[in-house]
Amino acid sequence: MSVGTGTQAAAAPMQKYKKRSQIAQIWGRFKKNKMAMGGLILFGIMLIVAITAPLFIDYEVDVIQQTISERFQSPSAAHWFGTDQFGRDIFSRVFWGARISMFVGVVVVVISLIIGSILGAASGFFGGWLDNVIMRFMDILLAIPGTMLAITIVAALGGGIQNLLLALSIEQIPKMTRIVRSSVLTLKTQDYIEAARACGTTNARIIYRHILPNAIGPILVQASLTVARTIISVASMSFIGLGINPPEPEWGAMLSEAKAQLMNYPYLVVAPGLAIILTVTSLTLIGDGLRDALDPKMKN
């Protein structure tokens, strides 16, 4: 084809051609993945429950009030999941527990995502001594087993939700930093980055226009898996008594309380256990679905 083949009008209006956003395409691919959609629906229900719990559950009456006359009731119409050793309704407690787990999970991801992205992007993009300083520090954090680190921080600073958030974020930041750094490292040598430099694009614009949109895939996948991992961490910390303080209905804490009665009243562990499994599984499925859907080279 040679120059000036077009005999049409000089510039057709842009509106003539439908603009297809990449988000719509990603959603189209995600929708086709049945497992991922199952995970998304399940997680959506959990999230709605967590947000709307105060509308139909009274914290003072249903969740923490002890009614000794009603202890250890098996699941029934009045108490769907039964009652625990203090006569509290397990259904209400599990649903209220979703609020705590989701809250901690989301806050930890947001904190580690922001700090991890900044550190990882700076480290990968600028390299040199900055990269060395940041990554050696992250290596130190990574060298300590995550749970150990969290236990140490909570033991030093005391329990409670704030210190738990801090401890779990510190555990997740190095992992997020590494993921972001490695994506940035592979992306920054791409020819399109050089093409951007060839017309004088600033570093800031290169990062937010060229690098971040392409790095978002692995970051989002990591984020969804981090929520899952954090929910398990919260449960484990509470299980060993270093997480959420009773009488707050945290799933791990509920399991911990139930373990003494496990031989006599096994139904006590079913509801909180299932809640943890379902939430974590749904998030993992979402993460896997996102990984596939976010690759722009995947065919629709």
């Binding site: 120059v3 077009g6 000089a10 510039a11 842009m14 060839a198 017309c199 004088g200 949109p213």
Partner: protein
């Protein structure tokens, strides 16, 4: 005499590596006049691409000068450089890696215009994008397509449109057709030659494919391990190669004939390491006519006939 559009003077680019200094570009001198094409040929790793990147200052030179319209751009500060970037652009080898997979065709072509703030009006920007797409022969309906949905030839047209967006005077073409299949290669080459005529562009055309370079170049420079070993007008170089490396390269062009099969002058031996090379002819280790005096001497490009330069002991 007319001033060349772009000129290099003793251009050097060294990289520090763990094992020593890598001489990627070593003492390269040439001039390119407006509207002409300099073909740069050589095997992989001889510094062709590095040279192209130093020319438009994507990389800073270790030593030497690049004169654009008579001014040394190596001394330019950031702001002067940003102004100058509108004048010199680059087209890349791999049209799959050179386009951002998250941006649509129109976004990719409009990006340089936005970055350089040449056109700020949205409607004008749109018109310019359609204009450029038409210039490079891309159908209007592809305006919102994403690179992965297009074939190699169309992708490379996007690359060309992006390079043209700022109306540059000089374009470095870094093996723009070697990743494409042969029928598409011809299309893109013809497009580039048409554009050169239409806009008076000056090209530096980097390639390892001699049949391509003959097609498009006015002058050809042959590079070996960071140095220019022979430089001559295209026809002269093909008719009358002097340097043994050029001869070997030319004889490696496949000839579609059974008779001439055995006439190939095949080089033996490995490429000498570009890390801390010894003085003397860098090709000596593989040269069929190597003599003891080839090592240790100081070689320079010498004019053996008008505009035909060669760097070989035989002609010193």
């Amino acid at each position: 005499m007319e001033m060349p559009l772009i000129e290099t003077k003793n251009l050097k680019k060294y990289f520090k590596t763990g094992r020593g200094t890598l001489h990627a570009v070593d003492n390269v001198n040439f001039q390119i006049f407006k509207g002409q094409t300099l073909g740069v040929v050589g095997e992989s790793g001889c510094g062709k691409s590095t040279l192209g990147r130093v020319m438009i200052r994507l990389l800073d030179a270790t030593e030497g000068q690049v004169l654009f319209e008579g001014k040394n751009i190596m001394d330019y500060n950031k702001y002067q450089m940003n102004e100058l970037r509108k004048e010199m652009q680059i087209i890349f080898q791999d049209p799959y890696a050179s386009l951002n997979p998250r941006m649509s065709v129109s976004e990719i072509i409009a990006e340089p215009l936005k970055v350089c703030k040449v056109i700020t009006n949205k409607k004008e920007l749109e018109e310019r994008v359609f204009d450029l797409m038409k210039t490079v022969g891309l159908a209007e309906r592809l305006v919102n397509a994403y690179p992965h949905e297009l074939d190699g030839g169309r992708r490379q047209r996007i690359g060309v449109a992006r390079a043209l967006a700022l109306n540059p005077k000089f374009i470095v073409c870094d093996e723009p057709v070697s990743a494409l299949d042969v029928s598409i290669q011809a299309q893109i080459l013809n497009l580039m030659m048409d554009l050169q005529e239409q806009f008076g562009l000056t090209y530096m055309f980097i390639t390892h494919d001699l049949s391509v370079v003959k097609h498009i170049s006015t002058e050809i420079a042959v590079m070996y391990l960071g140095q220019c070993v022979e430089k001559a007008p295209a026809d002269e170089l093909f008719a009358n190669p002097v340097h043994p490396y050029t001869k070997a390269l030319l004889s490696a062009i496949p000839i579609p004939s059974l008779k001439y099969r055995n006439m190939q002058n095949i080089l033996s031996g490995e490429v000498t390491s570009p890390i801390d090379p010894k003085p003397g002819c860098r090709f000596a280790a593989r040269c069929p006519n190597a003599k003891p005096e080839c090592t240790g001497c100081n070689l320079e490009l010498k004019e053996i006939s008008p505009n035909h330069f060669v760097s070989c002991v035989k002609y010193m």
